[in-house]
Symmetry: C2
């Protein structure tokens, strides 16, 4: 089957996605009978393009990377100027049936309000269009609303890449662990802070380590999302909402970042045979789910303690199987882009089994 895609957000993840989709086009066709066609792209600063017959996605990526505007690829006959407008155009009944339609949402994280991502997702699901996103904000802030909207419109709302890049977590539970209850979790889910902690273990100090990661383009110019624990808090809320029906937001997560963690403290822990990691966790103890993010000193043999650099992992506590850990030893853009592909395969499977 063919899925027509509208990409809302076309940053590093969105552009890596279109290239990965081209790289594995033959596999998706051969193994999943799945063809992807990109018909719309909306960016924040490089305009919007829509073409019912398919856009040259690689060309679009190159245009954006040259700092030019996408609008010259546009064949919509309208002056589309936002993600919501693209989705409205995309939602019009297509000329010929057959292809499914999916909005792929990869706009940047707004940890307070998840805007405009939530608007995009509401617009798409409201029109009965499936949504795949790598954005953790909407799941962290409005999970129940979006889940119920998707169910009411018989649409899929999938977000495997929102928390752990390419590691399957939501799919793992949904597809491979039927009947299992998650009673808690703890994880290292933020690569920037883990990379900094690793550099401190190796003799560095916080400020130079952060500056080095900003220069390398790994950490943002405003690093607060990472080092103050907001990114990890959003992921903890997303995991707690989906896996434990917590009904919380990032602001409900008890949060301590790593600004106060000195190289000396990290190396003193190592000398004791321990490691300091920024741990995101949640547990339900009779009452509501309590989630938190904070630096923790862990024994060196803990599955989270062994993570260095960009590695991340989640330890799920379950009722039937005890603790299960899933570890991504190399994280990065390709992994996040791949998560979008897995969700598209899920969309295709669901449509084929209808």
């Amino acid at each position: 089957m063919r899925l027509d895609l509208a990409l809302v957000g076309f940053g590093h993840v969105g552009r890596r996605f279109v290239r990965l989709a081209a790289e594995i086009e033959n596999r998706l066709q051969a193994e999943h009978d799945l063809t992807l066609r990109i018909v719309g792209i909306a960016t924040g600063r490089h305009g919007v393009a829509f073409d019912d017959h398919g856009l040259d996605a690689a060309g679009a990526a190159a245009i954006v990377e040259r700092g030019e505007a996408l609008s010259r690829l546009d064949r919509s006959g309208a002056q589309l100027s936002s993600g919501v407008e693209l989705i409205e155009r995309f939602a019009r009944p297509p000329r010929a049936g057959g292809a499914g339609r999916v909005v792929i949402e990869t706009t940047p994280l707004d940890v307070q309000r998840a805007r405009p991502a939530i608007d995009h997702i509401r617009a798409a699901l409201g029109a009965g269009i499936d949504v795949v996103t790598a954005n953790k904000g909407p799941v962290a802030i409005a999970w129940r609303e979006l889940r119920d909207l998707a169910a009411a419109r018989d649409a899929s709302f999938l977000f495997e890449g929102a928390v752990m890049d390419g590691i399957p977590i939501f799919n793992l539970l949904r597809e491979t662990l039927p009947g299992v209850r998650v009673t808690g979790f703890r994880g290292v889910v933020n690569s920037t802070t883990n990379h900094i902690l690793t550099m401190l273990e190796d003799g560095g100090e916080f400020e130079p380590a952060l500056a080095e990661m900003q220069q390398a383009g790994v950490a943002e110019a405003d690093p607060g999302l990472d080092v103050d624990g907001w990114d990890a808090a959003a992921k903890a809320a997303a995991l707690a909402n989906v896996l434990m029906d917590a009904g919380i937001t990032p602001a409900d997560v008890e949060r301590t970042g790593i600004r106060g963690v000195s190289g000396d403290r990290v190396r003193a822990a190592v000398a004791r045979g321990h490691r300091i990691r920024l741990v995101a966790s949640a547990a339900r103890d009779r009452g509501p789910v309590a989630a938190r993010v904070r630096p923790e000193e862990l024994p060196a043999g803990d599955p989270l303690a062994i993570l260095r650099g960009m590695a991340n992992a989640l330890v799920l506590r379950t009722d039937l199987l005890g603790e299960i850990a899933v570890t991504q030893l190399a994280g990065g853009l390709t992994q996040t882009a791949y998560a979008l592909v897995t969700d598209l395969v899920t969309v295709a499977r669901r449509r084929q089994s209808r």
Copy 2:
């Protein structure tokens, strides 16, 4: 939907399965619309029972545990005396349609020929009946034949519990990592040897540690399957066959067990900051897949080095996502029994989407 089950093999795993299925009956019904009914049980030493209207499985487990014969539960009207005979009776067209039929194979491992497990699986698949097994032998020895037979009869052949107990490995790849290629793996997959190595780290010696595990019922009276690496070799072959299409058998796996590993050697490794683990691995370097099992000295921060006691883990090397590790921090009978449940849910999903 309802699945009628014939259990061939009714040892620790089979009996834990019927109890677990009863414990989570409500979840399976509510979340997967799945009802399980056990209509046949074949044992090696306690006879065979079949009842089209359903057997009292808990009662059957108690009968076997008292050392008595199952035949008094039998309503087949025949003198069934083997697993194959039970399967033939089970394969007769049922009076009323509706229920799916699944053979659950849990007879003991025969690492040389996988008998009688292969006979049971051939008989069931040949009759178009789905098969779920926790037996690694058939997958290690005859994967391609059984896969092709299942495909030809439009039947499912599933074996999630054969290698890593309750950790999803085969389901993980099939359901959550579409398009990903496994280029190699390494894992700690045998609990008995890992438990012994942990006891050596803590000051023990090989022979007393082994004797202790035999007394506790964890290791077999004949411990060769575990300590000589045969069990791990069978798992390595099964993984290599299914994940990498290796077409090998356990005899093709280069194999060194842990009999030659002394407490002194284990503790000297610890003193160097390392750990010795029995590692099962496979890789494809241009030519055919090479698989092996041997004690390896690993850095303490390796995902396999941190495994103590009954924990096990598999590190998958993939083309798109780099290395992914899946770790079961607590393994045991419940986990293996649960793997049978996950495969039954897969069978039900496939039937529902036909």
